[in-house]
């Protein structure tokens, strides 16, 4: 069991980080920290994907010295997926930050509970 854990230590850490980011995103009241949590969560998923996609001793899949043997290279797909995922999380982060900015300019606080109280105290604009 312990040996298995040691062998897959990077994945274990990734899952742990995912849990940290997940709880921060869900439970923290500060909007900026929520965004940080979101980024930790996504990055943890990419760490997991990168770590399983890398095989020690193999090269990145670019044919350089005429070596065309498949065994010499790693599979390029996980890295491609990570890149796609990074693009997604960058755009999501940008939207979240812009929303946070809007709320901060309006209510001068980053605490979600406080904002909630202020928003529902004002007259609804139908």
């Amino acid at each position: 069991m312990l040996q298995l854990l040691w062998e897959s230590r990077i994945q274990a850490v990734a899952v742990l980080l995912f849990a940290v980011g997940f709880t921060t995103l869900l439970l923290h009241r500060n909007l900026i920290k929520k965004v940080i949590g979101l980024n930790i969560m996504d990055t943890a998923a990419y760490l997991f994907l990168t770590s399983i996609g890398y095989i020690p001793g193999r090269l990145s899949p670019i044919v350089a010295d005429g070596v065309t043997d498949m065994e010499a290279y790693v599979n390029p797909l996980p890295a491609g997926l990570v890149l796609t995922g990074i693009v997604v999380s960058v755009s999501v982060t940008a939207v979240m930050l812009s929303l946070t900015l809007r709320l901060y300019r309006r209510y001068h606080t980053l605490n979600l509970d406080e904002i909630y109280r202020l928003v529902y105290a004002e007259q609804e604009d139908v």
Binding site: F18, G21, F22, L25, L26, L31, K34, L38, M41, D42, A45, F48, L49, I52, L77, P78, L81, T84, G85, V88, S91, V92, V95, M96, L99, T100, R102, L103, R106, Y107, L112, I115, Y116, L118, V119, Y120, E122, E124, D125, V126
Partner: protein, 497 residues
Amino acid sequence: MAFCLNFPLFLIVLCLISSVVSSVLPARAARIWSLGLSAVSTAANAVLFRYAARTNTAVTYLMGHYPHPWGNELRIGPLEALFSAFFSLVLFLCLLGGRRQLAVKVAPQKQHYYYVMADLVQAALLALVYTNDLFTGYVFIEICTLSSCGLLMIRETGRTILASVRYMIFSLIGSGLFLLGVILLYSITGHLLMPNLKESIGLLWSTGQYHLPLLSSICLICIGLAVKSGLFPFHLWMADTYGAAIPASSGILSGLVSKAYIFFLLKVIFDVFGVDVFYACGIHRLLYVMGAAGIIAGSVGALRENNIFRMIAFSSAAQIGYIYMGIGLSPTVGIEAALFQILAHAVTKPALFLSAGHLSDAAGRSKRFHDLQGAGYKDPFAGVAFTLAAFSMIGLPFTMGFISKYLFGMAALDGSHAKMVPTLLVLAVSTVLNTLYFARTVLRLYNKPQADDYERVRIPAHLSYVTAGIVFMAVNLLLGTLSRPLLDLLLQGVRLF
């Protein structure tokens, strides 16, 4: 290969291009473009559905003729085509019927952005329905989340921005879980295309290899999509979100976006896990319990609300619960009921939101029940449309709601005995609660206020809204009375899923 099999790819690409083009068009042109696009998409998908239902086949469409593992694939079957056509039609009607509200409530210089987002939502809906690749699914889930967030925050009030933040947080939690599930699945199988995944998962399940990772990835994917579609206990953002947005956005979000996630989940259940593995691993019991709890919690929440939009939003949570209860009940009749419920809800809920928008305008721009007194007289058409949709929600005969409740009842009797009694009980209780809160609203709409402060003001009807409302009512009544052909088609589609 028939030419019409190219339609899904063309439509998805066309929607993505249109969203870029719309961003530089004036609002009027962007609106016409967007409406035209959804009309074309409805027609093209209807043609495709006719072809697929007639040939009775589900075709795998290789993009650019690159086979696995280089290419990306779409999967085109009768069920996919039917749901795309339906979703495009509802989107068209939402945009058409919500036009007036949009013009009044959104700043003129920002209106064309609304149609950018609508085009993106449509691209995402089509891609989620048609894709045959799990990671493409993930990317379009995120596109769907971002663009529906755009539909929400187009109206810049404190409430809508706060609602968008809450919506984003729950959506991101859901897609984070989904992503981790997909990555786990990829790490144990090495595939992302659905047919290959299904083969590997079947093999892994029968040999018992990687049992724990497989189980956790199935759970993560199901829970992730359930959170995104607003299953109990993650339904609380709905009231804020649908309550604050403009009616067309509320209709699109509740009627289409959350349904597209559920349809994608069904696709994953059938094409990735395989029905046998999914029902063997026990996660359906969790979905069943949460669905049933969601029905009750949503109905009670709706009963306690004093704001018509928030009430409809809570009723949405209950309707989502029905769908998950159907998925949890049984792989045949339960799924059929769930699919019919998706269609029924997609027709009814946008009609309710659009009518409620017009009624609240007639009542002096208020969403409070107290001010809505007699609003049915001031805007007669909106009153009628609301009442009919409310009847469908309650499940009166000749509406789609009746058929869907009937199907759930049949599914309960068909399934295991352990689930029969609770299902029937939940159905009965929720019908009573539905009747209570919708009857209360309808009575309020047709209850004349005190004579002294009552002026008989008629709000002029808007052609675009009336057209959309008539189509919504016609589809609801038509499919509610002549449901047999549709049910046969659904069954045929499920067999080919």
